[in-house]
Amino acid sequence: MKRIKSIYVVEDDPISSYVIKLALQQHPSFEDSLEFKNGKEAVDYLAQHAIKGQAPGLILLDINMPVLDGWGFLDNFSGLQIKADIPVVMLTSSINPEDIAKAKSHELVKGYLSKPLNKAKLDEILTFL
């Protein structure tokens, strides 16, 4: 069974972040997650580690965040020019059609999921990874 290692959770709300971590822990295919409070923290970390070959297996990305939001993160991420194929899945409570359309058309985004995250949704992620 495929296991996804090193999952970045980019989420400003601490409760949401905790809930996501729990969901990941309880699923057999996902292990060791890292939490980031906003897009900037995630990009900075990625920039340092991806170069050393420590690329994450999955990035779960919220949209509304302070400092650097989900879209800003994606722009900066593209700018890093990382060779490794890192799948990004948007995880948000927004059901704004504009957000969904924007996510689907973004080349780096592999999926768009609405909160809450549960086992069924994690299974869905596995199908398109």
Binding site: I15, S16, P66, V67, L68, S93, S94, I95, K115, P116
Partner: protein, 767 residues
């Protein structure tokens, strides 16, 4: 008188000697002198004289005379005798010899140098024509005998023959000489050809001109046959003409081009066949002439004539040639214009083809005045047409003619009528249109203005409007003037502005230079105002719609995010056995529910702001309102050592919803403190300015600032936070904006990272 008795034998001997003498003489003078010598010496005459009739046949001129032996010669008294005068003149007239035995008895006798009593006078006659007279006198009476008469008559007839012969010879020589002269000097080409058996034509003789023109030497031509001289083609043509002349026995004239290529040399030849007694053609004589130049001139003349003919016949105008007012010639166009045949025009006066009266009411039969005039003519079918006539007199071989150039201008007149009608229609529109119509110069003066324009711009008369300087007195912006098909503002006379729609165009001269502006101005002020109101309404509606949509998304997002947390926490709590973990989750559950409550409260607040658009507006003193806010925040201000500077006029009052103003000030000042720089003493400046129709309130700080490039469009959005600050709710500025707009104000922000932030609020005081 023994010596006068001449014997028969002597007589014959004398004649013989004469005949011999005459044979050896050639010129007339020699002949005559030898006659005289012989007569005087042989016949023992006292004297002898010979007269010849002059060319006019009027006088006898003495050409030779001899006195006898040692006697002195006669003086030339009677060198000239008029025909019919004296004995000599009479004899000459009657052509009959005469012996006068006693001159004193003859009334006709005119004494010579001395009076002599007898005289013998013999006419020299040839073929009944008098040539001259032989005359001899003698001092004795009855000296001359009939024998003398016989001898002299015989001598005279011999002399006559000889003289005629000599004269012929002289003439011949003279003619030969002049022929030679002509032959060698004429510019005409002369040649003689011998006709030989088997149609061989050999050149016998040519003159210099022939050699010059043909550029050949004499050796190349004389003695050669036609075939040897000319190329095959030309020789065959020439032979054809030769044969024609020979067979028809008549001179012929023909032309041959001896040139090569473009260089033409056309020669005209008159060829005359010469026949012998048996009717056989022995020679051909020809005279040729270079007629190249003449031909060219002729052809040019012909072309000129054709050109003129073409001009005449194809002219767009009718051309009539008049003599004494009567048409004697006309071109084809005249037939078309007048609708008549040539026969129906020629021989008539032009006013014959006219109605009785001309448009000016006068009869058509009057004499026209001037060289150029308009005239109405009628066609054969009676239809009338107007023409323009130009008369020009000319003289041809001393005869006076008039050329009439007749142009049909019926179409032009119709066009003019249509134009006039259209001009009239234009005038009607110009005078009555509700739109302003104008014509102006590029320099900025009106040339024409319609009454509606005068009215629209508030001037009292056309003259007044015509006198203004368009550029300075009419336009706010001079560049508007060239914006045809556009809308712009114009100044009325009273200074008020109106909006106009300009539909204009330029009029150019032949060189492409603008000479006039033409245009129609429509007053669209009222229309524009309505449109503006409509646009505002539309903007507001779409703005509200957008906010509503945004709000719906926010509501769903916020509530969903909390409910998602709640759902997850509850399900984890169910499954977990760990009590500590359970407690942690419970705390989170509590926090999440209170956040949800907070969110719902916030949303309620927003709905309230948006619902209470018609909350009572009150007039408040701005400074005291600000001071009230600062009092609420005084703890924080003090705690963070913030220096607050207030620059608000004490008497400045504004129309506000007081609760909103409090909320706005509280939020802005609170933000300024919250996002201060920790390394600087925080400074906040609150400044208010009274403007013409508004009040400007500026709240600025020296804090962290916001990256406008990254977040500029999200500053006033809901739940957008820009700093990694746990307190930030991303709600304050959203509500502030809503409150400002609820009071019909505007809020803007200017900021730079680490340079501070400046919020500018404009309160609209216009209503």
């Amino acid at each position: 008188m023994l010596n006068t008795q001449i014997k028969e034998e002597k007589y014959l001997d004398i004649i013989n000697q004469f005949a011999l003498g005459l044979l050896s003489q050639s010129t007339i003078k020699e002949i005559l002198w030898s006659v005289i010598d012989n007569v005087v010496s042989k016949l023992d005459f006292y004297d002898c004289a010979i007269y010849l009739l002059d060319d006019q046949g009027e006088n006898l001129i003495q050409v030779a005379s001899q006195a006898y032996k040692n006697r002195t010669p006669k003086e030339n008294k009677a060198a000239l005798i008029k025909l019919g005068t004296g004995i000599v003149g009479k004899v000459a007239l009657q052509k009959k010899a005469k012996i006068t035995n006693d001159t004193s008895l003859d009334k006709d006798y005119i004494p010579d140098d001395q009076f002599r009593f007898s005289e013998i006078t013999i006419p020299i006659i040839h073929e009944d024509e008098l040539i001259g007279i032989i005359d001899s006198e003698h001092p004795d009476k009855d000296f001359f005998q009939p024998i003398h008469l016989s001898i002299l008559t015989t001598i005279a007839s011999m002399v006559a023959i000889k003289v005629v012969q000599a004269r012929h010879l002289e003439n011949l020589a003279e003619r030969e000489q002049s022929f030679d002269l002509i032959y060698s000097n004429t510019n005409d080409l002369i040649f003689l050809i011998a006709v030989e058996p088997n149609k061989v034509y050999r050149i016998v003789s040519v003159n210099r001109a022939y050699l010059d023109l043909s550029k050949r030497s004499k050796e190349d031509v004389v003695g050669k046959t036609v075939d040897e001289i000319w190329d095959k083609e030309r020789a065959s043509v020439i032979r054809k003409y030769f044969i024609q002349a020979i067979t028809t026995k008549k001179p012929i004239t023909y032309e041959i081009d001896f040139g090569k290529g473009e260089d033409r040399t056309i020669v005209e030849t008159k060829l005359t066949p010469v026949f012998d007694k048996r009717g056989r053609c022995t020679n051909l004589s020809g005279v040729s002439r270079d007629i190249t130049a003449a031909k060219a001139t002729q052809s040019e003349l012909k072309q000129e004539q054709e050109k003129y003919q073409l001009l005449f016949s194809k002219a767009r105008d009718a051309i009539l040639m008049l003599k004494n007012d009567i048409i004697i010639e006309c071109n084809d166009r005249a037939l078309e214009i007048f609708g008549r045949s040539r026969e129906e025009l020629i021989g008539f006066k032009p006013n014959h083809f006219s109605p009785k009266l001309q448009p000016d009411g006068q009869t058509s039969s009057r004499k026209t005045i001037g060289d150029s005039f308009q005239w109405v003519h009628s066609k054969k079918d009676g239809s009338l047409f107007t023409v323009e006539v130009m008369l020009s007199p000319f003289k041809l071989e001393n005869e006076e003619y008039t050329q009439a150039l007749v142009r049909d201008i019926s179409d032009r007149i119709k066009t003019e009528q249509v134009l006039r009608a259209s001009e009239k229609r234009y005038r009607t529109i110009f005078e009555n249109s509700l739109d302003g119509i104008y014509k102006s110069t590029p320099e900025g003066k009106f040339v024409e203005v319609s009454p509606a324009l005068v009215n629209m711009l508030g001037y009292s008369s056309e003259e007044e409007l015509l006198s203004i300087d368009i550029k300075t007195q009419l336009y706010f912006k001079t560049e508007d003037r060239i914006k045809h098909d556009n809308q712009y503002r114009l100044k009325r006379k009273d200074g008020a502005e109106i909006w106009v729609e300009d539909h204009g165009f330029y009029q150019y001269d032949n060189s492409g230079k603008k000479i006039f502006h033409h245009g129609i101005l429509r007053d669209v002020t009222a229309k524009n105002q309505k449109q503006e109101e409509l646009q505002n309404l539309l903007n507001m509606t779409s703005d509200q719609n957008k906010r509503l949509q945004n709000f719906a998304h926010i509501v769903s997002h916020n509530i969903r995010s909390h409910s998602a947390n709640l759902t997850s926490l509850v399900s984890f709590m169910e499954s977990t056995k760990d009590e500590d973990e359970k407690e942690k989750m419970f705390q989170m559950l509590k926090s999440s529910t209170s956040q949800l409550e907070e969110t719902i409260k916030n949303l309620n607040e927003i709905i309230t702001v948006n619902q209470n658009l018609n909350k009572p507006i009150e007039r408040r003193n701005l400074l005291s309102e600000i001071e009230k806010t600062l009092k609420i925040l005084s703890g924080e201000i003090h705690q963070n050592k913030v220096s607050v500077k207030i620059q608000v006029p004490a008497d400045l009052k504004i129309n506000v919803i007081p609760a909103y103003l409090d909320s706005i000030m509280l939020n802005l000042v609170d933000n300024a403190i919250k996002y201060r720089r920790r390394d600087l003493k925080p400074k906040i400046t609150i400044k208010a300015t009274q403007l013409k129709k508004s009040v400007k309130l500026v709240v600025s700080d020296n804090g962290l600032g916001i990256d406008m490039k990254a977040h500029g469009d999200k500053i006033f959005g809901m739940y957008n936070t820009f700093h990694a600050n746990e307190d930030a709710r991303g709600f304050g500025l959203y509500i502030t904006k809503n409150q400002v707009e609820a009071m019909k104000g505007k809020i803007e922000v200017k900021s730079e990272v680490n340079q501070g932030t400046k919020f500018i609020i404009t309160f609209d005081e216009a209503h």
